[in-house]
Amino acid sequence: MNVVEVDQIQKRYGKSIANEAISMTVKEHEIVSILGPNGAGKTTLLKQIYGELEPDKGEIRVLGKKPDNVKKKIGILPQEVRPFGYLTVYDNLYYIGRIKGVNKGILKERIDQLTETFELDKRKYARDLSGGMKRKLLLAMAMVNDPELLILDEPTVGLDPEGRRKIWDLLLDLKRSGKSILLTTHYLDEAEKLSDRIYFLNKKVLFSGTPSEIKTKFTEWYEVIDYTEGRVYRVNGDEVKKLVMSIHGKFEVKMPSLEEVYLQVFKGE
């Protein structure tokens, strides 16, 4: 079952087109990433999916309904947002939970669980948290209502490598527990590690698929690293065997990374 269905949507800001004839889906228990350069319309697309903006044309269904009707069942993390600095971590979670209709008793347990997971001090004022901890608090706020679908706009921006890894593990755990996640990111390794499917977007969907499908489709070459000589070769598939046979010592054969594909695709745009 599709938890998100976007059908031929179009969005303009005055004369400028942000999204053009976009169709996409997110299935149950799936992590889907949207990749694209700055100004590609990723945030605009997410805002339409979680109901902050309305498309000019086309239709969006989230959990089988119009986005406005399911806002309390989903969790969102907008791109440029700060928590309520004048409230404590606990209050930020408590009020957003109550506004989303979470029962008081359940909410207290949920806050305990989330603050422990994200290593947040409940009594601390949000304004006193570091940038990374603020992002963690915002993620916890997105998850406070135990949503069926999480929509995250650059969830790990500002986090240190360890923090990013923890969020990745958490998102993968959420997926395993049956949640669906739609995210945007500029970290290609993040998209590669987390995503079941990826959409490359620049106003319109350029292409989509699993990370390996995309790599297979867009690159014909392999990277061969000769550790003995300290050289890196890029060779076509049929030449790999020949090259490998000629190397005397340790070597590694790699498919190009998603980053290579990304650069190749958007350079040619």
């Binding site: 806002k71 947002v81 209050d91 109550r98």
Partner: protein
């Protein structure tokens, strides 16, 4: 919807701890000092103007300034997106910001009235007229603040203009003196200032004069004018 408003207002009121010193000074101590100093220069019927004027200044200027600044900051800080994404309608969130400001203003108005009663022996001749005047003024002030935020958008610009407008609308309008003090050709100009309507409605209500109802009606008409001239929908577009 009421639960949402309740928690949104409670959340904002809770934030008062962060600026408690400023709040106590500007909402309670400043009006007391201001009224005691300037009230001592006035005699006879004009003393009422120091009371109605200070209520106008606090009710109108403080409300529109705070609503405009809070809204602009919430939009800039992305918290508007967060709350709207949490299933709260834009209008409800704007309303809750206005409502929390109004609740905070009540303490200032009570402090002003207390000085009026105790020091200047004020007689509030019609409580219903006074309540109507306050209610209509609050609605218009909050609307004015929302419009200001929608037009100026940037919180730094909103902050500057709300300060400038606050002073202009307090001291270049008949807030602390009668409308009749202004020479006739210029008197028409002050009708362009919303604070004129608020001050007159409050002054006449304290006097118990039914004329206050007309001014309150004008205040409501002004609020409706602001809403229907497509300014509030602009606010909603700004947030997008």
């Amino acid at each position: 919807m009421f639960r949402e408003i309740f928690y949104l207002v409670a959340m904002q009121i809770k934030g008062i701890k962060s600026y408690a010193i400023g709040y106590v000074f500007f909402s309670l101590l400043f009006p007391l000092g201001f009224m005691l100093v300037f009230g001592s220069f006035l005699t006879g019927p004009y003393v009422i103007y120091i009371i109605s004027g200070t209520i106008t200044a606090y009710l109108f200027v403080s409300t529109f300034g705070s609503v405009a600044n809070n809204l602009a900051n919430e939009i800039e800080g992305g918290r508007f997106s967060l709350i709207i994404g949490g299933g709260v309608r834009r209008e409800v969130y704007s309303l809750s910001i206005s409502l929390s400001q109004v609740i905070l203003d009540i303490s200032s108005i009570l402090a002003i009235l207390a000085v009026g009663f105790l020091v200047y022996h004020l007689q509030l001749k019609s409580i219903p007229l006074f309540v109507i005047a306050l209610g209509s003024s609050i609605i218009m002030s909050a609307t004015f603040g929302m419009v200001l935020a929608s037009i100026l958008k940037n919180p730094y610009v909103v902050s500057q203009y709300s300060t400038v407008l606050g002073f202009a609308l307090t001291f270049f309008a008949p807030v602390y003196y009668p409308l009749s003090f202004i020479p006739l050709p210029f008197r028409y100009l002050v009708f362009l200032e919303p604070s004129t309507y608020v001050s007159q409605a409050i002054y006449y209500s304290i006097e118990g004069n039914p004329y206050s109802l007309l001014w309150s009606l004008a205040v409501i008409a002004l609020a409706l004018f602001l809403i229907t001239t497509n300014k509030i929908p602009r606010l909603l577009k700004v947030i997008q």
